[in-house]
């Protein structure tokens, strides 16, 4: 309870500070929170901007496609490299390099390969989401206690039963964490892709408003996108917490 009061105070103070700061600056460039509700109304009424609904669905579809691709290939690559130790050792430095390089530098080449449409956004969302999934599988496999595998083998479990009944449950928490991070990064990838160059999607609407110097609408859109992303992440957190409660 105290925590929530504290959080509410922080929020109110931040909004007030934002309002005061914005009121002292150029209103064309700086939008205070008091102007947001009206701007939200304009954005949603679709008088000046492309209709939000279809763009929202497009972005969501791109995120889902990117994330599913990231999960499918991340799990596959992770398990192949994690279970084939030699192969894993060969590819480990490559993964580390891929992880260390800021992924946004790949984006121009993705646009060249896939064009301005959704494909390049899906590819970028995939690229960002893929690594955390793969790395969580690798970390998860290393985490499986040897003693549990020994117990299962001593009771006659073959490789398949060890995988299903020991490894998967033992790594479920780590895996859920990796999937959640992958989802968050797939969202980032798709949005960044849309902002950097697109003809549709939430990121495109954002840059459109920004390009026309409709700063209040732009700020309202940021709030909408933030709310959407938080909702997706909260769902991910919920699933992760459930899995961890079960597995740990």
């Amino acid at each position: 309870m105290k925590l929530w009061i504290g959080r509410a105070v922080v929020l109110v103070v931040a909004l007030l500070a934002w309002e005061v700061a914005a009121s002292m600056l150029n209103p064309i460039l700086y939008v205070g929170p008091s102007r947001l509700p009206a701007a939200l109304g304009r954005v949603l009424s679709v008088r000046y901007l492309p209709p939000l609904g279809s763009h929202l669905w497009l972005t969501l579809g791109e995120v889902v496609a990117a994330f599913l691709l990231a999960v499918a290939s991340g799990l596959w690559v992770g398990f192949v490299l994690g279970l084939q130790k030699t192969l894993g050792r060969i590819y480990e430095p490559l993964l580390a390099v891929l992880y260390a390089v800021p992924s946004v530098i790949w984006y121009p080449s993705l646009m060249l390969f896939f064009g301005l449409g959704p494909a390049s956004k899906i590819a970028f969302g995939f690229l960002l989401g893929f690594l955390p999934v793969t790395l969580s599988v690798l970390a998860g496999i290393r985490q499986v206690p040897e003693s549990l595998v020994t117990v299962a083998v001593s009771m006659g479990a073959g490789p398949g039963a060890v995988f299903r009944k020991v490894m998967l449950p033992a790594m479920a928490g780590t895996l859920a964490g990796g999937l959640r991070t992958g989802l968050a990064l797939s969202v980032v990838g798709v949005l960044v892709g849309e902002v950097l160059g697109a003809r549709a999607g939430l990121g495109y609407v954002l840059t459109y408003a920004y390009g026309l110097l409709m700063t209040a609408e732009y700020a309202a859109l940021v709030v909408i996108v933030a709310a959407a992303v938080l909702t997706v992440d909260a769902l991910g957190a919920l699933v992760e917490a459930r899995v961890r409660r079960w597995a740990d």
Partner: protein, 263 residues
């Protein structure tokens, strides 16, 4: 009496070498041992003497480099959950399974239906003082309870042979003594052949029909000592004191050798 009944476990001249970064190490050398039906045999020796390796070889989890293991008349070629069950120092309970589902794990692998697994697991947990704890997860149990669940999981396989690798090694002294008394009871009820690895003289004397003393690495059989005392044993009796003095003389010698060779 068939040959199988005569000797549930025959260890014939087994040796085991391990490759380490600093070269090959012989853990076990030329160990032979015949365990009689229903017998409780302890393997006693300094740490690193290969007693656990001998146990794992009997359990089919480690393959000997030389010699062979015969379980109820059949040469062993790997884990044999129909005949041999193992319990380890680390209870190795599955944290995502309740006590009941942990006990049922081996039966699940054998494809027994859930209702039957439950029945067997409950029947094992109750006399172990775990009634009311069936639905608890390992993290909610004390160390002694976890170890009992792990032993119940091994007993659930209903094998004629039970192998135990320092199962009470991680418990405090009091719990350890109580678990020893409890194991004597389990043994009397179930009439199994048990091979028990320990480095505790007290534990070996309290539980065993025979104690196999092993040498420092490479592990060989140094001596085999019969313990012809009835159960439950009075650990304060003069016979036990004599036996402990005799065992200590042997184990001390080997422990000193182990320390010298590792220093």
């Amino acid at each position: 009496m068939t040959a199988a009944e005569a000797a549930p476990i025959v260890v014939e001249g087994v040796s085991k070498r391990y490759q380490t970064p600093s070269g090959a190490v012989t853990a076990v050398e030329e160990v032979s041992l015949t365990v009689r039906p229903g017998e409780f045999v302890s393997l006693l020796g300094p740490s690193g003497c290969g007693k656990s390796t001998v146990l794992l070889m009997i359990g089919g989890l480690v393959r000997p480099d030389a010699g062979r293991i015969v379980i109820e008349g059949e040469p062993s070629s790997g884990p044999n959950p129909k005949k041999v069950a193992l319990a380890f120092q680390d209870p190795g309970l599955f944290p995502w399974r309740t006590a009941l589902d942990n006990v049922g794990f081996g039966l699940e692998l054998q494809g027994l239906p859930a209702a039957r697994r439950r029945e067997i697991a409950l029947g094992l947990l109750e006399p172990m003082g775990l009634k009311g704890f069936e639905a608890k997860y390992p993290r909610e149990l004390s160390g002694g309870m976890r170890q009992r669940v792990a032993i119940a999981r091994a007993l659930a396989l209903d094998t004629p042979i039970l192998l135990m690798d320092e199962p009470f090694g991680a418990l405090d002294e009091q719990t350890r003594l109580l678990m020893g008394e409890w194991l004597v009871g389990v043994r009397r009820r179930t009439r199994r052949t048990i091979v028990f690895v320990t480095h505790s003289l007290q534990e070996a004397i309290a539980l065993s029909d025979r104690i196999v003393v092993m040498t420092a690495r490479p592990g060989r059989v140094k001596d085999v000592i019969e313990v012809p005392l009835p159960f439950p044993r009075d650990l304060g009796s003069p016979e036990v004191a004599d036996l402990r003095a005799k065992l200590w003389g042997q184990v001390r010698e080997e422990s000193l050798r182990a320390m010298e060779s590792s220093a």
